[in-house]
Symmetry: C2
Amino acid sequence: MSRTLADLGEFGLIRLLQDRLPNGKDVLLGPGDDAAIVHAIDGRVVATTDMLVEGRHFRRDWSEAYDIGRKAAAQNLADVAAMGARPTALLVALAAPPDLEVDWALGLADGLRDECERTDASVAGGDLVRGPSIVISVTALGSLDGRPPVTRAGAKAGDVIAVCGRLGWSAAGLAVLGRGFRSPRVVVEAHRRPEPPYDAGPEAATLGATAMIDVSDGLVGDLGHIAKASDVVLDLDTKSLEIAEPLQAVAAAIGVDPLEFVLTGGEDHALAATFPSEVNLPERWRVIGRVAAPTEEQLQGVTINGEKSETAGHDHFR
Amino acid sequence: MSRTLADLGEFGLIRLLQDRLPNGKDVLLGPGDDAAIVHAIDGRVVATTDMLVEGRHFRRDWSEAYDIGRKAAAQNLADVAAMGARPTALLVALAAPPDLEVDWALGLADGLRDECERTDASVAGGDLVRGPSIVISVTALGSLDGRPPVTRAGAKAGDVIAVCGRLGWSAAGLAVLGRGFRSPRVVVEAHRRPEPPYDAGPEAATLGATAMIDVSDGLVGDLGHIAKASDVVLDLDTKSLEIAEPLQAVAAAIGVDPLEFVLTGGEDHALAATFPSEVNLPERWRVIGRVAAPTEEQLQGVTINGEKSETAGHDHFR
């Protein structure tokens, strides 16, 4: 039988976890004291937190612990990138039942570590408590390296809207899993393990992005946050949104419009940003629309091909 | 009937919470974007995280939401202070069932805010998710303001051990509540609302503390972490540990030795530190023992009046 957390005890598990979580270059003092100490070289630290609850944000029968670790890290690291910052460290709190297998906790740690390594960050500290079900809370820290932050509030009429990273893949994967299937494998993998383009965040800041957000709840909903914060209209041109072949296949199989995945699917953690129209964007940033001033007919918000959109983001309590 | 989170929705609740959580002086960008931005003036940030699970760390029938907020903030802010740092900001993630009353969430926020105000910090960001029971995860950030950190690893033979803040009061309060009583009120209040001496952390650093810890799991257990990290023996002199009258009253009423509260009671978040013996300590730092080198008979650990102690800290999974 596998060892459980109760067999090993809190301090035994902490020792095993620490062995798997080497300190990265920005961590001055890692796990094991009252607090960690992390570089914040320009005198500011970017900080964000996201919580994942078993049964709502992940299912142990759909995802391995390792993939849940990757995903928990990814969604927080992407939030740092969306400010135009470079992730430096994670703090991770885990509530778990005492009968959880030690191997599950170690798999989670491996996933957190490997996702951090995609961006030179590392796990600098954490907390481990007993709870009735698994809850993972991750805080990510980051550095702007002297650049101004890219908030949601700077989009201006005339800017272009561009996106870097996948849209709709995770949602297509979730739709497949929800119907009891395991393929197309490529969308299931995208759901289990998003691959946010972390370095595109600082790149966008350097290119002069006026606003940026991490697409976690769906493109239209998240662009709505930029529209509101910037008091502008964001108009999407659906012709410019490529719909990859696997998304078309899934949509055809389950009888939905594949564009729905692209417009409303969350959890891929693409970066969406607005740029002055004269900026020469690298190829991985695809222009998908334009920013306009609000009018009496069209207040701040998102339009699709010039038409008002009814698509809202995800509300966790409704 | 009171409004619930489901009635109000995630974004409605976030708006109400933001109205109650003003940004402090170290917060450059507060809640509402992908991440917060916090001052880290000397190029380093101190960061720590603790998770509280309903039923294990708090009970809604024993504590008001406001007190749970105070406590959740206190235990994290105290960890920052225990590094010799000044707290600057909190990030707070909350999992809650949709039928939770809005007033409970607002009470929690008020408690977090008011505890932060004891130390000039503020809530800079957070996350709100749906979950089967309440889980609160707090991350505290802090600034060393150019000082070196005080870790657990610097205690030296010949140092004195000193403590600032209450010991055993919260444990006495918990013992009272656990037996269905509500008095003595002063220990019940201490359990519901610890008052860590935050500014004593930077003070100890300035005075030359060689090691420091926040007493969260019990004096003997937590000093054991210093002993281990510093490879020394910490000998407590019980004659120097004052046992306040309310603790004596509770102990007499329930038939235990009041010294147990002082030696093993957690959650008061006193600061325990070691100092070179020549340091002239302010009155609030009470000397309670001495640091000795390990010998063949007595390896690293805590002794009480020169005798080996069997008292261990709390293990969350055993």
